[in-house]
């Protein structure tokens, strides 16, 4: 966003990229040049405001990532409370039953609660059978093993973003506009809106729209659907998108571990057998990272 020749210098100063000696000199200049001092103050304010916006964005992302983990965390934290409560109820019930005068033994109870169906007297004189309190099913906390494989995070890191300018122009203006809007929504990481906009186009007829749609679906963790879109591009033997779609497909399968492990491995092996493939090096890196 550098528009003024001295902007770069000011930016280096504000972003802490200026060497110490140069910085001292620049600060001396600031003392004697009120105009420069004002410009620096303005740019500092801009930078602070911009950083504040980034902070808000990162916090929103963290809330989004935290949401699916929250119920598991709660369950993990409070499962033992439920187990203790169930145990206490069971204990109180047992004490109550055994302290009653003329109490029958559990064995007798078992015999009484199941009277023969053809004995109406028995059903009338016996109290209604009370279902014995069942112990709470042993609920295990959802294990969050820090050493567990995190294929999803790896897939997210290796997922390749589309070059949006590659989306070709189409014949109708409204379609151009929709795809541009979808691109803008995608660039702003608003993937739901991207899909809404693409849904208004016939994306099955536009490879570029399908490609963008697959990426948006990936970001929304809808890996199976993203996989299907990438597969369709490969099936169409798209000259422009075939190879990126193959890579996208592989990464979707990695994200969908262990469900898609087998097909992932097959596809990775096939890719590694082809040194001419444009994603050969990336596949090699991925393989070595997975083997580590």
């Amino acid at each position: 966003m550098n528009t003024h020749p001295s902007d770069k210098l000011i930016q280096d100063y504000l972003r802490g990229r200026m060497p110490a000696a140069e910085r001292d000199q620049f600060e001396q200049q600031l003392e004697s040049d009120p105009e420069l001092a004002e410009e620096v103050a303005l740019q500092r304010a801009e930078l602070a405001a911009a950083e504040r916006l980034l902070e808000s964005e990162t916090r929103a992302w963290m809330r989004e990532w935290q949401q699916p983990a929250q119920p598991a965390f709660r369950a993990a934290r409070f499962w033992w409370l439920a187990a203790v409560a169930a145990g206490a109820v069971l204990l109180i019930a047992a004490i109550y039953v055994f302290r009653q005068p003329g109490t029958t033994t559990p064995k007798d109870q078992a015999e009484q609660v199941a009277p023969p169906a053809n004995n109406p007297i028995a059903t009338e004189t016996l109290p209604a059978p009370v279902p014995a309190p069942q112990p709470a099913p042993a609920q295990k906390p959802v294990a969050t093993n820090p050493a567990a494989p995190n294929y999803l995070a790896e897939a997210r890191l290796r997922f390749q973003e589309p070059v949006l300018s590659d989306v070709r122009r189409t014949n109708t203006d409204s379609l151009v506009s929709l795809i541009r809007q979808a691109q803008a929504a995608y660039a702003a990481a608003d993937y739901r809106r991207t899909l809404d906009l693409l849904a208004q186009t016939d994306s099955t007829r536009l490879q570029s729209a399908t490609f963008l749609e697959a990426h948006a679906l990936f970001h929304l963790d809808r890996f199976a659907e993203a996989e299907a879109r990438f597969e369709s591009l490969i099936a169409q033997n798209s000259r422009q998108f075939r190879y990126p779609a193959e890579w996208g497909l592989l990464i979707c399968r990695l994200a969908n571990f262990p469900k898609r492990e087998q097909v992932f491995q097959q596809q990775l092996d096939a890719l590694l057998d082809n040194p001419q493939h444009p994603y050969f090096e990336q596949a090699k890196n991925l393989e070595s990272a997975l083997k580590k």
């Binding site: 966003m1 528009t3 930016q11 504000l14 972003r15 802490g16 990229r17 001092a37 004002e38 103050a41 303005l42 500092r44 304010a45 801009e46 930078l47 602070a48 405001a49 911009a50 950083e51 504040r52 916006l53 980034l54 902070e55 964005e57 990162t58 916090r59 992302w61 963290m62 990532w65 969050t144 820090p146 050493a147 567990a148 494989p149 995190n150 294929y151 995070a153 790896e154 997210r156 890191l157 997922f159 973003e161 949006l164 300018s165 541009r180 809007q181 691109q183 803008a184 660039a187 702003a188 990481a189 990426h215 970001h219 991925l286 990272a289 997975l290 083997k291 580590k292």
Partner: protein
């Protein structure tokens, strides 16, 4: 297959690059790093906080780590965990001082601030949050997005591509108008403006 963790180099590249998706993925890797999270919570609990404080400090440390990495303060020469924990220790120490929740023992050596970055900027972000938010509320969405990309040091070409402008010249013009608007709004708040003018080397 064992867990393939992204290398610090990959994380730095993603945070300093011009690809929003990769940036988001790198931040998510940090956020889902259970070892870092546990170490953070353990540190906070050891020094008088609870689990929730630990979780808050962990998230705050990710934000500071991102900012410092973009400013070139962390280049992967030291370990990522070590640098991250330096931010955690510094942040929690300051947090306690601010809230006076727990008197800091005289025998305890205050942690070193994590190196790099810009102290004036850190001060403004810590102490002038609400005022900055008030300024930002007066800007349009488009302008806010432009400012965000400015913080990320994106090129005009990249801004044009991501925000759907026709070319870099249009992006440059939009950026100029946005900065102009921001300056007008800022000068309407003399108390904050004075703060920006007077700030030199606040702690």
């Amino acid at each position: 297959m064992q867990r393939p963790s992204p290398t610090p180099g990959e994380i730095i590249d993603a945070l300093t690059g011009q690809d929003t998706g990769r940036r988001k993925a790198a931040l998510q890797c940090l956020f889902e790093n259970q070892a870092l999270r546990k170490r953070t919570i353990a540190h906070v609990r050891r020094y008088g906080g609870n689990r929730q404080d630990g979780e808050d400090v962990f998230q705050e440390a990710i934000i500071v780590f991102d900012r410092k990495t973009r400013a070139g303060a962390f280049r992967g020469e030291s370990s990522l965990e070590g640098y991250f924990m330096g931010i955690v220790r510094w942040h929690w120490f300051n947090e306690q001082q601010r809230n006076a929740r727990q008197p800091v023992s005289l025998h305890e050596t205050p942690p070193e601030p994590p190196p790099g970055g810009n102290p004036e900027l850190e001060y403004l972000l810590a102490e002038r949050r609400e005022q900055l938010d008030k300024l930002l509320e007066q800007l349009a969405d488009k302008c806010r997005n432009l400012l965000k990309m400015y913080a990320l040091d994106y090129s005009m070409d990249e801004i044009a591509r991501q925000l759907g402008f026709a070319n870099d010249k249009v992006a440059k013009k939009e950026a100029y108008l946005c900065r102009k608007r921001f300056r007008v709004v800022l000068k309407q708040h003399p108390e904050l403006w004075q703060d920006f003018i007077l700030i030199k080397k606040k702690p």
